[in-house]
């Protein structure tokens, strides 16, 4: 297993290099980061020239990539155009986004498994049709529209009902928050509630359908018929025999989808005005900030690669018939 992991990690190095180089070319070629500076009146040419040299804009693009890659290997992400250290910025933003994405994924997995299993056990009943229809509905809803609906019907109505500001619609935390630990957590949760709910609904929609399909698949297998024939209680058959095997596909699907959830958080963050990875990406694109954008790209790509690896390892662990060595 260790050999497999090492081999896979080595194989992903060329992918990381290719992706970063490709996106570097695209960003660097997408415009002039100094356009704002040039547009300003009365900026001496010497200042612009100095800035160009500082940002290595006078060098060929491959050299610029090499400079960036050298820094990256040493753990140095460089500075943003505004002069901020990218690594500090990245760390702040990553915490904010992961807080939302990880919580949403955990909740979504639990709900999706439950919904999928109920749907499969009660196949072709009203329950099954309702769950399936809701799944399709959320699958067809743009997350920004759903999130805005949640703001409208979730937050504002609940707050009015309770008469206090319990659920927040804007930002990841109240700025300059003071108070004890308990107070801070309450504030975090109040801000997390809506974005998490939006992400959960979208994820559950897709995953519950996988869970339903794999549960149905397992339920029609011979060993379930055998377990029933042995006279085990239906509950025991479902949970010990069917569910355990039906969980194998969903684990890999969730691990593979984590990257998409992370990317999708860009939109959720915009709806709720969070200062996370998403706004970092949009800022980087708008400012043509190569360092900032590649930091985002590297973190996201590496997380996706790691989760793909986790998916394969989980698969082998859960299904002993699979061997990688």
């Amino acid at each position: 297993m260790l050999g497999f992991v090492i081999r896979r990690l080595l194989m992903s190095i060329p992918v990381v290099i290719a992706v970063s180089f490709l996106v570097f070319l695209m960003v660097a070629g997408s415009g002039d980061p100094l356009a704002d500076l040039r547009a300003r009146p009365n900026v001496p040419a010497a200042v612009i020239q100095a800035r160009r040299e500082q940002l290595h804009l006078d060098k060929p693009i491959v050299t610029r990539y090499a400079i960036w890659a050298k820094g990256f290997v040493k753990g140095d992400f460089g500075n943003t155009l505004g002069g901020q250290n990218v690594r500090t910025l990245l760390w702040q933003r990553l915490q904010v986004t992961l807080r939302m994405v990880v919580l949403a994924t955990l909740i979504a997995v639990i709900i999706a498994i439950a919904a999928g299993v109920i749907s499969a056990v009660r196949q072709y009943t009203v329950t099954d049709y309702s769950i399936t229809f809701l799944g399709f509905l959320f699958l067809s809803m743009p997350v920004f529209w759903l999130a805005a609906l949640l703001k409208e019907y979730g937050a504002i109505r609940i707050n009015n009902l309770l008469g206090t500001q319990l659920v927040f619609t804007v930002g990841e935390a109240t700025p300059n928050l003071t108070g004890n630990w308990f107070h801070r957590m309450g504030d975090y949760i109040g801000h997390l509630a809506l974005p998490t709910a939006a992400l959960v609904m979208i994820s559950v929609a897709g995953w519950s359908r996988y869970q339903r399909a794999s549960m149905l698949d397992v339920m029609s297998s011979d060993y379930i018929r055998l377990a029933r024939a042995k006279g085990l209680t239906p509950r025991r058959v479902m949970i010990r025999h069917a569910l355990r095997n039906a969980l194998i596909p969903i684990t890999t699907v969730v691990a593979l989808d984590f990257g998409a959830v992370l990317g999708g958080a860009v939109i959720t963050e915009k709806v709720f005005s969070w200062q996370g990875m998403g706004s970092m990406l949009i800022d980087a694109v708008n400012n043509i900030d190569v360092n900032e954008l590649l930091a985002w790209l590297m973190v996201t790509t590496i997380i996706v690669i790691l989760f793909n690896l986790v998916a394969d390892i989980l698969y082998a662990y859960l299904d002993p018939r699979i061997r990688y060595d």
């Binding site: 415009g31 743009p142 694109v285």
Partner: protein, 319 residues
């Protein structure tokens, strides 16, 4: 004659792959029952799926309305009238916005852009993905490795970053829906390529391919006459899913300000512009969103019905 004769009995065996090249409705002398062609069986099974049929009707209506509605409706999407922020009425069924645009005209225009992009993406990505998947699946070996490495590479680029960077390039270009469609296609083909490859891998080992080869059929003939027609089911289903995914992607891009730009409009852009009006002027916010949901939902239902029609082993619907 290089075609393998189809066993009439196999025509009723669900999910069985058959070599194509037979004329539909070829009389089978030994049997009194009329043989149904693959296509007719698929259509028959699809028509039994009531939700899918209803969805298809709604979808066609919405698509037709979005493609030609903007030309018939007596307000232009850029036209500004004297009625400001009016709720829905006979004159303006979807109301008007703060500067006097007719919301129905804007929603129709937005839907037109979204539908155009989604259809183009479905065509381009299905075409390209099918070619890549067919070559990789049929020839295997080095060609397969090279093409699949390329597919994996495209799959590892975070889509949102790729699209955002590309979109930023054409910030000031007008009529950029074509560009957005091509950018989305550049990513969407991977999924179809993988589906087609998997289908071809399993099909090429089948006896009818061997028989065709034994009869002297060339690679091109085997791919186009024997393999591709049998892979049509998964391809069409994948293309349908591509439409639904593209609609959501395109609206999301426009919402982020990276897709269609004013003065043109799109459903995502309308929602982003009117987000703050959800409470005070709900018609500005709800109608564009409803259009997205209706299009994506009906496409998904149609796709589901098609999947059942092409692969009846998964369901209890019988034909």
């Amino acid at each position: 004659m290089t075609e393998v004769r189809r066993e009439p009995a196999a025509a009723t065996a669900a999910g069985e792959h058959q070599p194509a090249g037979m004329q539909p409705g070829t009389p089978e002398r030994e049997f009194t029952v009329e043989a149904r062609s693959q296509l007719r069986m698929v259509v028959r099974r699809f028509l039994q799926h009531r939700l899918a049929v209803a969805s298809l009707i709604v979808l066609v209506l919405v698509i037709v309305a979005s493609l030609i509605g903007g030309r018939i409706w007596h307000y232009g999407f850029e036209q500004v009238g004297p009625d400001l922020s009016r709720p829905p009425s006979w004159k303006h069924p979807f109301g008007t916005d703060g500067i006097g645009h007719d919301t129905l005209a804007q929603v129709l225009r937005g839907a037109q852009k979204s539908v155009q992009i989604a259809l183009l993406v479905a065509f381009v990505s299905t075409g390209f993905g099918t070619v890549v998947g067919a070559l990789a699946g049929y020839y295997g070996g080095k060609i397969d490795t090279a093409l699949m490495r390329l597919t994996d590479l495209v799959l590892s680029i975070p889509a949102i970053a790729f699209l955002a960077v590309l979109a930023a390039r054409v910030r000031h270009g007008s009529g950029n829906w074509l560009f957005i469609a091509l950018a989305l296609s550049a990513l969407a083909w991977t999924y179809i390529a993988r589906t087609v490859r998997a289908t071809f891998l399993s099909l090429r080992e089948k006896e009818f391919v061997e028989a065709a080869r034994a009869l002297g059929a060339k690679d091109r003939r085997i791919i186009f006459r024997h393999l591709l027609p049998n892979a049509v089911g998964p391809i069409i289903v994948a293309a349908t899913i591509a439409v639904a995914v593209t609609i959501l992607y395109e609206t999301s891009l426009s919402y982020l300000g990276l897709g269609i730009h004013p003065p043109d409009t799109s459903l995502g852009l309308l929602i982003s512009q009117n987000e703050s009006a959800a409470t005070t002027r709900p018609w500005l916010f709800y109608f564009p969103g409803l259009f997205i949901v209706i299009i994506a939902l009906t496409v998904n239902f149609v796709g589901d019905g098609l999947r059942d029609a092409f692969d009846p082993t998964q369901t209890r619907v019988r034909a």
